[in-house]
């Protein structure tokens, strides 16, 4: 059996091997992501429950153990078996296309995210730009959903979401310009490699204001609380997905949580040294100081916890204040810090002391 598999593998051309390898990795990442989303929904309800002195979901068990662990899977079965209602005057084609358009960028972005020094689907040189352009496409699903549903509430939600995402994309892009200046590369693998050293060598230390801006814009981009005016249950019922039911709604839900995981992973890669160990250089050659995919997963988990924490803590922003924060606070902060960083790079302060600027 094993022999025949390896024979088939060797009979493939280099191109064929590459194709098979990429396909397998893509499938593995997609399945892992969907499972993570399922567990994240449960974890979110548990965490918010504990913060509000409740227990959270604790009824559905798996094999009679782990109270609550079966909840996300029960929810999936429920949503799958529900009817997908298409409103009478909706634009059917666009109505059904919208959830998919939201979902595709959330998954496609993982193509360039390095899980460790060698495990990455594509080592694209313009990886960071690819990510920015994909995350900016997510807004189409929301706009199309809001328009195609032919409902006033849905359209209001879409309108808010579009304005908000365009505004915060600029702050996010500027924050990433700072990361590019610090790492002198658009390749995500290189960005991590440039942060070699302990936790003080990571980008967050020198780019702290940009980290704050990036994470706030990330929360706004994913339409999460306290920036969830696109949904705004108390004002416009559920915003752009008010007319969606069953699995069509579940796709929006999946995309939102996949985007959360994506933003957390990006925060880990850009500002917290990706797969690098926080103790490198402090603990000598011990196992804790070695780079490991586990470090990346821990960092993603911590960043995700912040998303949940924000949701449980902050009240929803008023719409005009969201716009003010994006345009008048976050963007000036990034511009000032990029200026500071340019001065630091020119006089070779901090992380720029050891690396030469781009070859002339």
């Amino acid at each position: 059996m094993l022999q025949s598999i390896s024979d088939t593998w060797n009979s493939l051309s280099a191109y064929g091997q590459h194709t098979v390898w990429t396909t397998v990795w893509t499938l593995a990442i997609t399945v892992a992501l969907i499972l993570s989303v399922a567990l994240l929904t449960l974890w979110e309800r548990k965490v918010i429950g504990w913060m509000q002195l409740r227990r959270g979901p604790n009824r559905v068990r798996i094999l009679g153990m782990f109270p609550g662990l079966g909840q996300p899977f029960a929810d999936v079965v429920k949503l799958l078996t529900k009817e997908v209602i298409i409103p009478a005057n909706a634009n059917k084609f666009l109505f059904l296309l919208a959830p998919m358009i939201t979902l595709i960028p959330a998954f496609a972005a993982w193509a360039v995210i390095p899980l460790s020094a060698t495990v990455v689907v594509s080592k694209a040189n313009a990886g960071l730009l690819y990510l920015l352009s994909l995350t900016s496409m997510g807004v189409y699903g929301v706009i199309i959903a809001g328009w195609a549903a032919n409902s006033k509430y849905a359209f209001l939600g879409a309108m808010r979401s579009a304005a908000q995402m365009v505004a915060y994309e600029i702050a996010m892009g500027f924050a990433l310009v700072g990361v590019i200046i610090a790492s002198q590369s658009l390749n995500l693998g290189d960005i991590v490699e440039r942060q070699q050293g302990g936790f003080l060598a990571w980008n967050w230390f020198w780019l702290f204001p940009l980290l704050i801006v990036y994470f706030i814009s990330g929360v706004a981009e994913t339409n999460r609380a306290p920036f969830d005016v696109a949904e705004g249950e108390s004002e416009i019922v559920a915003g752009f997905h008010v007319e969606y039911s069953g699995i069509a709604f579940a796709l929006f839900f999946l995309a939102e949580y996949a985007n959360m995981i994506l933003i957390s992973a990006l925060t880990a890669v850009f500002f917290f040294g990706g797969w690098l160990s926080p103790f490198a250089g402090y603990l000598g050659d011990s196992a804790l100081a070695q780079p490991n995919i586990g470090w990346l997963l821990i960092k993603i988990f911590i960043a995700l916890f912040f998303f949940l924490w924000f949701r449980a803590t902050f009240p929803r922003y008023r719409y005009d204040q969201i716009m003010r924060l994006g345009w008048k606070v976050l963007i000036p902060v990034t511009i000032v810090w990029i200026g500071v960083e340019m001065v630091m790079a020119w006089y070779k302060v901090g992380p720029w002391a050891k690396v030469a600027l781009w070859a002339q």
Binding site: A126, L129, L132, S133, Y140, I143, A162
Partner: protein, 199 residues
Amino acid sequence: MVEILFYIFGTILVLGALGVITSRNPVYSALLLVLCFITSAAIWLLIEAEFLAVVLVLVYVGAVMVLFLFVVMMLDVNLEELRTGFTRYAWLGWLTALAVIVEIVGVVWVRGVGIDVSKSPTPTAPDYSNTLELGRVMYTKYAYPFELAAVLLLVAIIAAISLTMRRRPGLKVQDIGKQVAVRAKDRVRIVKMNSEKRS
């Protein structure tokens, strides 16, 4: 392989562009234009212009078309009204189309002389960075044209804002600075009192 992909994307691009101008529904037109941008980016990727391809998607699809789509969806376009006078002004449209076609053919023909356009570009080394090379010429050799383009865009922004900004009388605005500076003690009075004995 590259040729096959080129023809696939080319077909989608041409069909999409035709759809943009023939579609009755302006929202469909805008969405098809998005499709055109994405397929153009894919074609640029085939000639190894990765930076241009990604920036096309980032700027046009991610920002410009979102706002465009937004406006188109908000407008209540009356098709009947749009169609009146179509035949009367048709000659102007044909004339413009003809001029544009002549210009495009001229440019493509002049630039194409002496170049084997049927050949795909020679593959570059794996460590070659399109972005780095582009940045290098843009900030050294073409620094002044680049700055000029930036200033031009700034002028356009200021012009657009000054055209659309007007102060309506009687408009009620919130002073956000005041709202942010407000403290709990300005609004809430906390009364401390001992709990009463249960009777």
